[in-house]
Structures are given as C-alpha cells and as structure tokens.
Assembly symmetry: C2
Homo-oligomer: 355 residues x 2
Amino acid sequence: MNRFDLRWSPRRNERARVNIGEIAKRAGVSRSTVSYALTGKRPVSEETKRRIQTVIDELGYRPNASARALKEGRTRTIGLVIPPAGQRLTDMQLGFVASVVDAAARADLDVLLSPSGGEHDRSFERVVTGRRVDGVVLMEIRLEDERVTRLQHSGLPFVGIGRTSRPEDMSWVDIDYETLIARCVHHLADLGHRHVALVNRSAELVAAGYGPGHRAQAGFERAVAERGLHGVQACCADDAQAGQSCLRHLLAEHPELTSVATINEAAVSGMYRALAEAGLNVPRDFSITGVAAQHWAENLHPPLTAADVPADEMGARAVELLIQRIADPATAHRHLLLTPPISLRATTGPARAGG
Amino acid sequence: MNRFDLRWSPRRNERARVNIGEIAKRAGVSRSTVSYALTGKRPVSEETKRRIQTVIDELGYRPNASARALKEGRTRTIGLVIPPAGQRLTDMQLGFVASVVDAAARADLDVLLSPSGGEHDRSFERVVTGRRVDGVVLMEIRLEDERVTRLQHSGLPFVGIGRTSRPEDMSWVDIDYETLIARCVHHLADLGHRHVALVNRSAELVAAGYGPGHRAQAGFERAVAERGLHGVQACCADDAQAGQSCLRHLLAEHPELTSVATINEAAVSGMYRALAEAGLNVPRDFSITGVAAQHWAENLHPPLTAADVPADEMGARAVELLIQRIADPATAHRHLLLTPPISLRATTGPARAGG
DNA sequence: TGGTCCAGTCGAATCGATTCGACTCCCTCC
DNA sequence: GGAGGGAGTCGAATCGATTCGACTGGACCA
C-alpha cells in the first residue's frame, strides 16, 4: 500500500455540487452577496439574508474549505507533530494530544496529525511546506531539533511542548525537569535516603538529545552533589517490562539503593513489580518518586508521590500561544516553564535505619 | 478562547510567495509545463525538467495544498473521528488511532482528527461537510449512530471501526464481541466455574447503544444459558478506580462469584486490586478473562488471559478499505469481522472445588 | 436643489494549482 | 512530397470561495 495513488471517478456526484454560485442563483442574488451574508463583512438586508439562508438550509450548503483556504491564505487548521507512529504514547503525551485537540476544537480549529521524528518524515514535510496548516504544535523536542530549525526557517508559526537548547528562539510550554528532579532528590534526602537512583527514559532518546532526559540528569547530579548522596543513573525504555528489568538490575548491582526518582512514567508499574519481587515494600523499604501526569499518578496503585504535570493544561496553553503567534507572527516569543509542586502520595517514606 | 477569530497580518511574508508562476517565470517556461514536469502527466524534455527542478530546489517550492485540493477535488487527507476529547482513550482505542495514523502516513495521506460524539460536534460537521477530507474513519460506533447516517447521507466515503445495527449499509472492520465473550464464558465453564459476571463498559455508553456493549451482553447471556450458569452483569466506567469499586460491589452482592469476563480493558487493573483486597488470588481463587488489545493484555501484571484484539492491524485494514472506497465509491461494501482466539495467560484457572 | 453619505448590491479580479485544446516541430512512411 | 503522429510546449479555462471598486437609490442636510 505504499504511496497509493488515489484516482477516483473524476467528479463527485452532481448532487454534491452545491457551491456559492448555485446558492446565489437560487436566491436570485450575486455570489458576492451570498458571501457577505455569510461572513457579515458588509451589510446585507434582512430580507435577502433570510432568502439566502432558506436556500442554504434547503441544499445543505457548506463553503468549500479548500477554496476558502486558498483565497484567505489560511486553513483554520493546526498541525500536531507527535512521536513516530508505532511507538506507544506515554500517558503524559496522550494528555498533551487530548488537550491540544480539545483546545483547538474550542477555538474552531481542526488538528492535522503528523507522526514524525522517525524515518518517514514525508508527513512532517507535507504539513510544514505545503501550507496545509496555519501553525504547528511540536512535541517531544530534542535539545538540537532539526524540525525546530525547519519550522524557524519556513516562517510557519509554531509552539513547542518542550524546548531546545536555545529556548529563547522559539515559543514553548515546558516542565522544569531539572528543578523537579532536584526537588525529588531533596525530598528523598530529607527522608533520610542516602542512595538514590535516577531512572531516565530510553537510552536512544537520551542519546538523541531528548531535553527532559538531559535536564533531569543535570538536576539529579546537582542535587545529589548538594546533599552528598550516592547516586546512580539508568536509562529505561517506555514500558512496564523494561521498568521491571531495569530496577531488577539496579537492585542487583546496587543493593544499597533505597530510593528511585524517575521521569519515566510508563516504567513505574514495572518498577513496583521488581520491588515486590525483591520482597521490598513501598514505601516502607523503598521509596519511589518522580515527575508524572497528575491523572496517572493518582490512579496508579499505590498512588505515586510525584510532581504533577498538568498535561491537560499544557496542551491548552500551547494552543493559546500558537493562536497568538498565528494572529501576529511578529510578537516576541513567549515561554511558560512549569514547576508543579510534589504531591505527597503513597510511595515515599523515611529511609530505614541504617539505609 | 471561544471561536477565536483568526485574522493575522494580511499576507504571508513575500519570501513565502513562491508559486508555480514564479517557478515558471524563472525557468522560462509556462505554468502548465511546470505542472506537467512535476506530475509527469505529459512528457517534458529532460533539459526543461532539470531547469525547473533547479529553480524549485533553489526556492524551496512546494505546491500549495489548498489550491491543489480545490482543483483536483480531493484533499489527500482522511478524517479520523475519535471519542469526545477530554475522555481518556482506552489502550485499544489508542491502538486504533496509532495504526490508522501509521497506515495513512504510509499511503501519503494526512489525518485530520475530529473529536466527536459529545456536544460540540462542530468539528465533525466541519470535517464532513466542508470537503476537508476525502474520507473518514469512524470509531466508537453505536448501534444507532447519527454520525453514520450523516455520512451516508453526505456521500462521503467512510469506514467504521465498529458497526451499527444495520451493518450491511456500511463498510467496517469490527471485532465479534458476541462470539468472543461467549467463548470466554465457555472457557470459564470448561474450567468448572458456575458463577460468572460480565463487566461491561460504562452505563452511559451502553445506554447510548454502544455496539460492543450490547453484543457482549448478548453473547454472555447466550453462553450462560447454554451452559446453565449463573450470570450477573455490571457496567463500569473506563478506569481502574471504577473497576475496583465495581468488582468490590459484585463480590459483596454475589459472594458466590468465581469469575469475570470483561470487555472493559481499563477497569481490569482495578479489578485485580479489588480481588487482592478481598484476599482472593488470581487465578487460584478467581478467574478473569475478556477481550483486550494484545499488547496490553501481555503487559498487564499478571498477564490477562484474553481474546487478543489486533488493534494495530485493524486500523491499517480500515485505512485500506477506506482507500478503496475513495478510489471507487460505487463498489460494494466490505466487512471484516475478527474473531481472534483466546490466548491463555495467567488469569484463568480451574474453579475451586465447591466453587 | 444639489451635494454627501450610507445601506445594499453587483461584476470582476484574485488565490495557486490542474488540465484541455491547440499549436509547432520533426520524424517516418508511403 | 504530403499525410500522419508523437514529443514538447503554451494559453486559457476552471475549481469555489473572498474582496475590491463601483453603482444605485434614498435619506439627510444646508
């Protein structure tokens, strides 16, 4: 089914050919009058409006989006660039997508999905260069991100959920992973933990310069140094299975560990399992905390003590910013760095004596 | 941010105004020649092609999607109608979305997302009537579904993931919930269980005529009757919390229960919790089985014995069917009813003596 | 009475592509 | 040497909307 070339029966069925001209003819007015009646950009008499509306209702007319987009130079559509298809979305990413779609719908904007970041970036190219969208929301941004460069170069308005290593050159909404992970470590240190591990996201993602991965690392190292702790780090793929084996290995190689801080949501339930397997009770014998979508942290069992990422709000904010940039691409870039507090739930507790 | 009226600086920056005319001028040929050079629909000399390509590369030209869509009468975009935004997608639904997006990308089609089914169906209306898409993939279909009616009436090609009560009137890909749940019950009966509960999806969804809900019910009742079992049914919202309290209530009211069959993925982990809470071991004291996305059933802990829904494949098949319908809307409807076998994993076992 | 203004309307140009018909060479074949 | 045909190209029409300039009456004012 590669590059399927669609060529269908030449024209749509004739019934469907209700265009503004047909409406005009039946209402006995000119096409421009119909247009003005619909947009309200020039006065049209009540009587004429009513006649036009009647015909429109009768024929079920709706303006052709392509024609309108062509003339107006905007599509009333935004692009949402998501991680490559086939890869499971984490709960947080899903939250972003849902809230972007929702916010866009509220603003009467449609959302064009573009899986990108993998090989098949034809989709991204189409979206960016074909003027298919008025602006783009970009997810899963790396420190050096070619897609950001492409967008900046193209002049298409865009907003990142996440930021590159030169954050002043773009508009974005992001979470302060560095501070949050540092706080998590401090929280653990306050509870008396001396040995703490950072469970990062996948090695590939971190190697590719995934921002949160690097920032979490920096925050972790800083806090560990500040508190004079013993810290170890590990990367872990985005699923429970990986979380389980990751923590299993960590426990084997560092039996002194009593706590974990993580930014890898999807791995947490697996870590729970590894701990149970090792006969360790949470939070009595072992503490876990990290950064996670609020909804998800609450519903986990046991509920995760974590910095609650308001994924729903972030998508909405990104769309807001994007709408502003679309309305006036020349305005200064705006940034929103969130540092949600840690919600104490059921997974952290005092280190055992001698821990 | 309601109905935000986008009006930006009148024209895009002039640099961006590379259109086919500009290419033609610089290459010293007519616009039609540029078009033919790009589409290959008429012969163009190698020399001319090369000159045009040079100019195109230089200016980074890409044809305007709206103009092309207007002239060609197709947008190279498909709509994907998902359950109302704000509502969490189940893992299975997420699998459908991912595979639809993936399959569409492989066919060089873009995907326009439309949350629908709730109140704000402006999005659905826009997608359907504004000729923004060449076809639609519809999810979460009800037995009587107004969206199906709308689509049938509009003549826009569409394919359902799921089907209505008059399935011959549309093309679809679906899972045979009735048979599968019946099989689950038979499986439990074979293991000696005499008391079995069906945990359905939310009461609202079922009341709204959600197909799988009703078909699962039918299959359950049939199998229960065939095997002379004692069966009870319950509806349950799509989350772990609800699953927990649902099963808790079931156990309280029907202490004789020893097994559950379910189509509610999202509730399963909550049911595990309720069982643990009640001191019941799975599968020693209690069996659970149902219909779930394969990937998800495997990764659950303990892994769920279930009929594995190949969500990834289903989305791809739906897109395939849709592409065919778009290419030739007059062809007969095609249907694909899947009945995946039950994969035995860790959650079903023989009923205890006297159970 | 004549000028100004505004509501209401129309015709034509425009957006950026595709596509049809026609035209020019040039080659080949009787 | 004229007919036939194909390669290569061009100009103009077209898709369906928006929008600008211009026109017509009628109201209002001096």
